[in-house]
Symmetry: C2
Subunit: 485 residues, 2 copies
């Protein structure tokens, strides 16, 4: 049986034959074909992307994934892989044709091995990130990847999208935490590359081709992850300063003195703090006076002693150099959590300030001050009163450059008018990103959302190489078609 595009829509007996064959592979309970039960897989939390599917298939083993892909390859049916369904750019949602099969990795949750001497852990793709962290913790190791959605996102999805998060500064992106991968290719062949080796120069490094490819080149079914020593002490400071440039200066000072101990360096604008304080019961202003900008800094050490003292003297030295205006180191777990709450609520509270247009961008760290100034100027010119709330992982150059609607007499009415200018605001911000050789998607990926944008901003030679690699690994174009490229 071949379900080719020319013969679409397929005859009912063709579909039911395909479903039957999928049931033979994964077991009849693990193929979902009715609309009601499929619904949870076909939309994502924000309902920005809603798709259709022939069916949802939930294989339990790598061999089952391979058999499903072989069948899809032979019948020319497209596959959309999905992990925890938390992606923000629609990469995990099928298109509207109803011709695609959604392949969920959720049943593949095994911990295959922990090797304490090698500091490695082999897990299957469907394990949630929180569970991966827990398994590492249970053997007194740290798996540092950390995201807001860690309770439901899966490690397979994290790797397929090269996830970022709050630990990138110290430990790198998701791809940097991987030693080896097991991948099922478009035609069902299995690439056995679950290496524990830190050094292996036997040919091309294939794992990096699949990580960040958003399921368009192969389906990651398991990974060998790096484990790290746990931190014995952590110190958290909230710092007030005059400008993004001062934040960059402070970052350089901390890197020079604390080096590898620096774990977090997050920029927060006063307007973001105002948003949080206006819409929350608990939080208080963390410092005695108001400042234009803040950074949340966290140092961590394998040693129990001495971290607080060296952090204090570092902050004093920054104060003497007039880099910072004020700083407070958390003296209790409660205070530490309060500092973090101010950072973590930044995304949420923007909803309560009316419409908000978001950008997940990065620029070289040295360019951040000029970049932010130009964005502010351009926004005010195009839309007087627009409220720029730029915050995020400044140590990685990654700024969530969000724009809230101007204050007005009738916020509700003006919200629609503001959101109607989404594309225009995107263009303003992205033009300045490109000017500074930045990225229009620092950590969320391309998916469907930024696919058309990618063609406009990416080096045409890079796009051509990407297309050549796609053609080489998925010549029939059945792996997550219409995503990324």
């Amino acid at each position: 049986m071949t379900v080719k595009a020319e013969t679409w829509p397929p005859q009912t007996e063709q579909v039911s034959d395909l479903v039957a064959r999928l049931q033979q592979i994964v077991g009849s309970h693990h193929v979902i074909a009715n609309a009601q039960d499929m619904a949870a897989y076909l939309s994502e939390p924000r309902d920005l992307f809603i798709g259709k599917a022939l069916c949802v298939v939930l294989p339990g083993t790598t061999l089952e994934v391979a058999a499903v892909l072989k069948l899809c390859f032979e019948t020319s049916v497209s596959i959309v892989p999905q992990g925890g369904n938390t992606g923000l750019v629609g990469g995990q949602i099928p298109d509207a044709t109803g011709r695609q099969i959604l392949l969920s990795l959720r049943r593949m949750t095994k911990l295959r091995e922990i090797d304490l001497s090698s500091n490695t852990m082999i897990v299957e793709a469907g394990m949630t990130l929180a569970k991966v962290q827990e398994e590492a913790h249970a053997v007194e190791r740290l798996f540092p990847l950390s995201l807001a959605s860690e309770g439901s996102c899966t490690i397979g999805g994290n790797l397929a999208t090269n996830a970022g998060g709050t630990a990138v500064l110290a430990y790198g992106n998701a791809r940097d935490l991987v030693l080896g991968l097991e991948v099922v290719l478009a035609d069902g062949r299995i690439l056995h590359n679950l290496s524990k080796l830190k050094k292996d120069n036997t040919g091309y490094d294939l794992k990096h081709i699949f990580m960040g490819s958003e399921g368009t080149l192969g389906i990651i079914t398991a990974a060998c992850l790096k484990l790290f020593p746990m931190l014995a002490s952590i110190e958290t400071a909230f710092v007030g300063l005059a400008s993004p440039q001062k934040a960059i200066d402070l970052l350089a000072l901390v890197q020079r003195n604390a080096g590898d101990k620096l774990k977090t360096f997050e920029l927060i604008p006063r307007i973001g703090l105002d948003f949080v304080l206006a819409h929350s019961e608990g939080p208080r202003d963390p410092l005695a006076q108001k400042h234009q900008w803040y950074v949340l800094i966290e140092l961590g050490s394998q040693q129990l002693e001495g971290l607080r003292d060296s952090f204090l003297s570092l902050l004093e030295s920054a104060s003497e150099k007039a880099i910072l205006e004020d700083a407070s180191i958390a003296t209790s777990l409660v205070q530490r959590q309060a500092f973090w709450a101010l950072r973590e609520r930044l995304s949420d509270v923007q909803k309560l300030e009316g419409g908000s247009i978001k950008h997940d961008v990065s620029v070289p760290i040295s360019a951040i001050p000029a970049f932010l100034e130009e964005v502010e100027t351009a926004l005010q010119k195009a839309m007087p009163g627009a409220r720029l709330c730029a915050f995020g992982h400044v140590g990685d150059g990654n700024i969530h450059c969000n724009v809230s609607q101007p204050l007005s007499a009738d916020m509700a009415v003006d919200k629609a008018r503001f959101l109607a200018r989404w594309d225009e605001v995107n263009e303003i911000v992205h033009a300045i990103v490109i000017k500074y050789h930045g990225s229009i998607s620092a950590e969320h990926g391309i998916g469907v959302l930024k696919r058309n944008l990618l063609v406009e901003v990416k080096d045409p030679v890079a796009l051509a190489v990407m297309r050549a690699v796609k053609q080489a690994l998925d010549p029939a174009g059945i792996l997550n078609p219409g995503k990324v490229l």
Copy 2:
């Protein structure tokens, strides 16, 4: 003009036409076509690989590299890229046909940019590694890649081969030190990917395809490198212990307590120390008693104070746990250099102990003790008296598993007999490497030397994917043909 394989050998006028066109591109002084001047490029220091070439071309800019490749693409002439000509597997040497062009990157030595806020540095491929380190040092930064050949090897070659060295444990392999690349593709197109961004999820991560591909997929012309804070204090210890397992236990203890401060962890067998002491004037036994095994440990910190005390208490704790037998921390720069000399002379002195058969292998760290035991047993069975001298980057799982000829009455005569069994010894060692899911080339690459071996040991699916990528990026097969694949 097209110089096709079918028409080889080319007519003299075809060759001289090609040389003339190359001279037009790079200037007549920068094309070498006479055998005498080419000789230095066509063999490597050990004279294991000697090739021929149509000519040696030395472009001075990326545009010139692009024009040379475009011409080669149009005329179907193969290109062998070369940096400092220090590779150990013949990847940089043309074949014996005399039909290939050697493209040396040596003239491309510019430092294009240093960005202190971003901690990045853009250098051209032909800059030597030592010069890259110096340029970083001049602005009070560290570029940690460090190899024995750093005075002559080039950063382009380091990246094309994903070089290793003594700093991998703390800072990663060469590929981990790169943010962006500029690459000339097989047809002369230039991939502009000199990104300074730490986070960029706009499509496939192309740089990792080219790094470690040994010039078979594209020619790296420049790179954006990561810079690190300099170390304010360094402490070096020489430790005696009973077995490789104790070394692994000590590694775990040091990682748990010193974490990121651990910079070096090198294993040395007593026999290696005996070799060095027997053939050197200066060095003395570093500890009062003899031990079966040793490790050289180096900790580094951004802080001036406290490192020595914490290192001492760490070693004391290891002694109390009976992990180590004795240890000495260097109290002067001279003593530190003496410790390092013992490690660094290990390779050289083997020559003075007769024939030596070498293996650059890695296994999972947890497997090192069993691996070494099995290698010793298998060697003694096949060749009683063979002297295994296994040393190296144990923190990376990378062991230089070298075998010296048995002691005998007539070492010189027996040397030839011993070396005649090179392949047999390789097979014995590599079989055990494969059993432990290790790598037969941890840091030196494949080149010509291990090309046939690769086919035997690599997952066939991985080889197929490598071939598909090669076909996609170099369909005419003109980039370093016959290397790797």
